[in-house]
């Protein structure tokens, strides 16, 4: 029985793969890969991403990817952020009720070489992450990439020193939770910021609006003091970087909790619930 199931699984996987690959190779998308001309939708995005002569359609950010992520398809990204939020909340719920505070002791962690190298590297990682996130509207990068890069720094500290060192310098799970909530709050406020300004001034506006659009002549300035900031894109990138970096830090801290402490909590919960 099991053998038959195995054969069915393998043959259906192979059939699906061959059919899908064949369809894609002979032009199942409507064109053969690689296309000479991109799709019309891509042309619209590319021609309006920074177009001062078409202000009413333009996102006014030279980086088309970030413009799509936070302007053209902002609602999509807000819901993706919700998925991230839910995954992290669910992980915290699984690991609830575990207290593991202990003073840091110099003998823990790796050798002095690893520790010194980490001390040198960590500020650079945070700096690069900040640069990726803050230049997201100008160069390839943005809040997601910057946040994922910044989360490497606490991960390195966790592995090279120990979770107690990270908590000793003040980055506990609850503080990371506060940082993450601040980032999510920033995303939420930035979604409504143009809407709120328009309400005060008495115009129409859309949620997640960045630049002036038809029927709503309100928008954030796309340049500040001669530097392009891309309206809401800069605010979104900063908030998202905070949310992603702090969210991953929480998960790494939870993964680093010693196993025996978790076992103790689980067994006591099992007794109390019968």
């Amino acid at each position: 029985m099991r053998r038959i199931l195995h054969v069915v699984i393998i043959s259906s996987v192979i059939a699906f793969t061959v059919l899908a690959a064949y369809a894609l190779c002979v032009g199942g998308l409507g064109y053969e890969l690689p296309p000479i001309e991109p799709r019309t939708l891509a042309k619209i995005y590319l021609s309006t991403t920074f177009n001062p002569s078409l202000r009413i359609l333009s996102a006014m950010a030279p980086e088309a990817v970030t413009a799509i992520v936070w302007d053209y398809r902002g609602l999509d990204t807000v819901f993706e952020t919700t998925v991230l939020y839910l995954a992290i909340i669910a992980s915290i719920a699984i690991m609830r009720g575990i207290e593991h505070h202990e003073p840091y002791d110099e003998k823990k962690g790796m050798s002095i070489i690893g520790k010194t190298a980490t001390k040198i590297i960590v500020p650079f990682i945070v700096g690069v992450a900040g640069a990726i996130a803050l230049h997201g509207h100008l160069t390839p990068g943005g809040g997601f990439q910057g946040g994922a890069t910044a989360a490497v720094a606490p991960l390195l500290v966790l592995v090279i020193f120990s979770v107690y060192f990270l908590e000793g310098i003040g980055l506990t799970k609850n503080r990371a939770l506060v940082l993450r909530s601040t980032g999510l709050l920033g995303v939420g406020i930035t979604s409504f910021i143009v809407f709120m300004i328009a309400l005060i001034k008495g115009f129409n506006a859309f949620i997640l609006q960045n630049q002036p659009k038809p029927y709503s002549p309100i928008g954030l300035p796309y340049a500040f003091n001669g530097n392009i900031i891309g309206g809401t894109l800069l605010l979104f990138n900063i908030s998202e970087m905070l949310a992603v970096a702090a969210g991953f830090t929480i998960l790494f801290i939870l993964l680093a909790i010693p196993e025996e402490k978790v076992k103790k909590v689980i067994s006591s919960q099992g007794e109390s619930h019968g």
Binding site: I9, T17, L33, I36, P38, F50, V65, F248
Partner: protein, 132 residues
């Protein structure tokens, strides 16, 4: 005479689908939850790479990333940019998908650890037979 670019593209796409097939087999047929998670990450990364390559284009002399470098642009700059830049939409979808995928993978890892702590195994056949 086969066009060399189309030929190479076909090989790349086929190899990605082979990757997807291996990952699907791992998810469906391997009993260990950890192996399933590994296969799931391979599936996700293959699908992301496939999405990126669908957004690729052929341009002379070579395609450019979808970033406008000349600021402020004139009309001919924008026309030139549209004629060489690759499709930005798959990249925008993939960059969120990677980060969300990492978070969901970590969540699955937490679930698997919890299952291991409670039942002492990550074998789905044994977990399915447990009672209570």
């Amino acid at each position: 005479m086969v066009n060399i670019v189309v030929y190479l593209f076909t090989i790349v796409i086929m190899s990605m689908f082979v990757n997807i097939a291996l990952a699907l087999y791992g998810i469906l047929a391997r009993p260990s939850l950890i192996k399933k998670i590994i296969a799931l990450t391979i599936l996700g990364d293959s699908a992301n790479t496939l999405a990126i390559i669908v957004g690729y284009r052929f341009a002379e002399p070579y395609p450019s990333p979808p970033v406008l470098t000349k600021l402020p642009p004139s009309k001919s700059d924008i026309q030139n940019f549209v004629s060489v830049a690759v499709d930005p939409l798959p990249q925008a979808l993939v960059l969120t998908a990677i980060v969300i995928g990492l978070a969901v993978t970590l969540f699955l890892v937490f679930l698997t650890i919890q299952v291991y702590r409670l039942y002492g195994t990550t074998d789905v056949r044994k977990i399915a037979k447990l009672r209570g």
